[in-house]
């Protein structure tokens, strides 16, 4: 089974992304939404965490939430996929289950 894990909290503020990555099996998909999108920015001090885990997980980030926070897609870590709400729905539909790390 493949799971989708969603994280909605900034990795600077909370442990949700760390907690998610410590319990998501290899092959899982991880989608960053809401304030969590700030974690998808390259050159920030949490970027290495995501870069280092790219062989285990496929990462996604919600575009509308990036735009709201003024983050240019060009500054997103290479290999993190930007999706819109329709893409979010597809991710939920194409995986077997979804867990929200609140």
């Amino acid at each position: 089974m493949t799971m989708l894990h969603t994280v909605n909290k900034s990795p600077f503020e909370r442990n949700a992304l760390d907690s998610c990555m410590s319990m998501a099996n290899k092959g899982s998909k991880i989608l960053l939404i809401e304030d969590a999108v700030v974690g998808a920015v390259d050159k920030n001090t949490h970027a290495e965490k995501i870069k280092g885990a790219m062989s285990d997980y496929t990462f996604y980030v919600l575009g509308p939430d990036l735009q709201a926070r003024g983050i240019d897609e060009g500054n997103v870590i290479d290999g993190v996929n930007v999706v819109d709400y329709a893409g979010y729905v597809d991710l939920v539909a194409e995986t077997d289950n979804v867990q929200s790390w609140l």
């Binding site: 909605n8 809401e34 709400y85 329709a86 979010y88 939920v92 929200s100 609140l102």
Partner: protein, 130 residues
């Protein structure tokens, strides 16, 4: 595919309700079904018709009511959570001796069993919260 949605925060304070609405709209547009939105914890505060957001702001409560009417979505507010937070319909008002009610169009108050039932009947439960 049949979705059930769980919302655990009130409107405005957290983005949860907004994200849930956007997700529902996108799912419906793709031809999926949203069987039920279950409002739990502070999520029950999505269901009060007493809100009057600023005119240039979105009206989250009305958005739920309209979406539900248009697509036949069951909007269920957890009774126990609603009692703690002051969300009442006519029946609850009568039972608890309140002199009025504040539930908005399209929402109904019911038990937590409705959440478990959604879990059983839906293909996916997606949670939006803090």
């Amino acid at each position: 595919m049949k979705f059930g949605i769980l919302v655990t925060e009130g409107p405005y304070q957290h983005q949860a309700s907004d994200s849930a609405l956007q997700f529902c709209r996108a799912a419906l547009e793709k031809g999926h079904e949203v069987m039920r939105v279950f409002f739990y914890n502070d999520g029950v505060n999505n269901s009060t018709r007493y809100t009057t957001p600023p005119q240039d702001d979105r009206n989250i409560v009305n958005s739920w009511s309209e979406l539900a009417e248009k697509h036949g979505i069951d909007l269920v507010v957890c009774v126990a959570a609603a009692q703690r937070r002051g969300i009442v319909d006519e029946g609850e008002a009568q039972r608890n001796g309140k002199d009025g009610n504040n539930i908005a169009e399209g929402f109904r108050i019911s038990g937590l069993g409705q959440l478990v039932e959604a879990g059983i009947q839906c293909d996916r439960i997606v949670t939006f919260g803090d």
